[in-house]
């Protein structure tokens, strides 16, 4: 049980900056997700908390203790490695039991706890095997079991579900969520899967190039993105971003189409962001603008409509019963309550619709 605080943490290798002067407070019992594209410094941040990587500058605390000079073994964290890090010469049972044995858990307690952890990740029948006789997804679950077999101060999980098939991933996600509620242990969880981030996190830190772009609840990250990167990174399909300007209180696209009324003063260069589900599909003439359908995709749960005006394409999400054809004309209306305006130069958000 502990809070984790990173203060002005930097990690540099020669000229290359992996993590750039970041501060992050992770509350006690919080489930914090680090989300970002490949190479943005998620694993590096986590390894610094574990003590496997020494920060070039800055201070790391776990609980009340500055742990910069503590060895990994003294930090009382449990980690799921991105590449599993299983002990190839030990059986699955011994792999999971290792943290218990090393920390001197009484013999009688070891087996029941290993079996319980194995059951939680559906591995019971593989306990006698060696890691090389398991599939990638099974190995990943061993790594997970080895972490949850103990009650450490902090869980560090580096993409622990990345190699599972879609169905198992959903099950394990729910299992993890349940487990974290039950155990109430501070968790740092790395992923680049947004759904995982949205569903598991108390708070999400979105990273890019070693810098945290935004730290907030999943709700805030989704509905209140701080800048263009977060807006474009979160959500599937990605948020529609339309270049244009603001004249007389109206957003006008670069092509000259006057699109929607916005609440900021006139400005030359603006990016308008709107999510697909906030683009309403109407009969021609009943929306803000009539456009031709460029592509129509039916995903089953909803339909995706792509329209084009000028150079820009906009995706709208419609009811799953909506049927369309290419070149049909539709009337689109942008929901004025859910529009985001960004400054293309600084990429920061400058206002709402």
């Amino acid at each position: 049980m502990a809070r984790v605080s990173l203060t002005n943490i930097t990690k540099r290798w020669g000229d290359f900056i992996g993590v750039d002067n970041q501060s992050l407070e992770i509350n006690d019992k919080e489930f914090l997700v680090l989300l970002g594209p490949s190479g943005c410094g998620k694993t590096t941040t986590m390894r610094m908390i574990a003590g496997l990587e020494e920060p070039t500058a800055g201070e790391i605390r776990i609980g009340d203790r500055v742990v910069n000079d503590d060895l990994p073994k003294d930090r009382d964290v449990a980690m799921v490695f991105q590449n599993y890090g299983l002990y190839p010469h030990m059986t699955i049972f011994d792999n999971i039991a290792y943290p218990l044995k090393v920390r001197g858990t009484p013999k009688a307690e070891v087996a029941p706890r290993v079996e319980k952890a194995a059951a939680q990740v559906e591995l019971t029948e593989f306990l006698h095997r060696k890691p090389k006789a398991l599939s990638g997804g099974q190995r990943q679950r061993v790594a997970l079991a080895r972490a949850i077999v103990r009650t450490p101060k902090v869980f560090l999980m580096d993409e622990p579900l990345s190699n599972l098939d879609a169905k198992l991933r959903v099950t394990m996600r729910a299992e993890l969520k349940h487990l974290s509620r039950q155990l109430q242990i501070t968790t740092v969880y790395v992923t680049h899967d947004q759904i995982e981030a949205m569903t598991l996190a108390d708070r999400v830190a979105v990273m890019k190039n070693g810098v945290i772009q935004q730290l907030g609840t999943p709700d805030e990250i989704y509905n209140d993105p701080a800048n263009l990167f977060v807006a474009g990174f979160i959500g599937s399909p990605a948020m529609n971003l339309i270049n244009g300007s603001v004249k007389d209180g109206m957003f006008v696209t670069t092509g000259g189409t006057s699109l929607v009324k916005v609440g900021i003063s006139d400005r030359d260069a603006v990016v308008l962001g709107v999510r697909a589900e906030d683009v309403e599909i109407h009969q021609p003439g009943e929306g803000d603008i009539d456009l031709k359908v460029y592509a129509y995709e039916n995903t089953g749960e909803s339909v995706m409509l792509t329209v084009q005006f000028g150079q820009q394409r906009v995706i709208a999400r419609g009811d799953r019963h909506l049927r369309m054809d290419m070149d049909d004309t539709v009337g689109l209306r942008l929901n004025p309550d859910h529009l985001y305006l960004f400054d293309p130069a600084s990429e920061n958000r400058i206002g709402n619709g």
Binding site: A50, G51, L52, L71, P72, K73, R75, V77, A78, M79, F81, N83, Y84, G85, L86, Y87, P88, H89, Y98, P99, V102, R103, R146, L156
Partner: protein, 290 residues
Amino acid sequence: MQDKRLKYLLVVPAVLVVFATAIWPLIDSLRLSFTVGRLTRPNFPQAYIGLENYNWAFFDEPAFWNSVTVTSIYTIVTVALTTLIALGLAMLLAPGGRLRSGVQTLLILPFAMSPALIGVSFRFMFNPEFGLFDAFFGLLFPPLADISWLSDPVLAFVVCVIADVWGWIPFLTLVLIGGLASIPRDTIEAAQVDGAGGWRVFKDVTLPQLMPVLAVVLILKAIFSLKTFDQVYMLTNGGPGTATQTLSHYIYFNGFKYGQIGYSASVAWLMVIPMLVLTYFYAKFVFRKD
């Protein structure tokens, strides 16, 4: 011609060469080991005497048993020392070790020297009048000044061991560095996070994964220690007395100094036994499946 036959034909020359240089001498030496074979007399080999040579070695020759003892102790001590020191160095020099630097390439240097040269140079260094070690020890511990290392039975043995260990450490270190480098870093880091200290990580994670390489190193070094000859020949020539006479040296002396080829051959064949055992295990580890 059919491929099936051609492939055998193509390896025939190689087989012939191996046969002429290795197999045939081996068989012929086995034949000679059952004879009185004296180089100094006409009609070599003079007579077949069955197992008489073996009998002689086993029951009538203290010198044989002396060289067996010398070789055994020599092998155990040099294998243990070389492997331990090489493992320590490898841990320091391997990726992630504390001493990682460009010195690795320099390491191979002593190994590139011929054992005979090592023998000669150590003989110089331990010379009581102008030797480097003598000057060194004499300075540090005056009582050790002017000791003639190579004329004391125990010290002479120690010098042989030092020379051998010195010559072999580099190669074994390089092999072990390779072994250590192939251990996934993840496994070691996982153990650290799981709560293991330095020694436990080594014992529980590093060592078991290094075991196949370590076994090969141990066996290989044992084979080379068993057949040590050149260094001992140059350094002490088996002396003082027979204090450092290894089996190879004993065989050489009997065969080529005293001309008793038949007897030498029988001792050489006795040496084949431990060699075969070691080679069997070596092959088992090198060609092991999985």
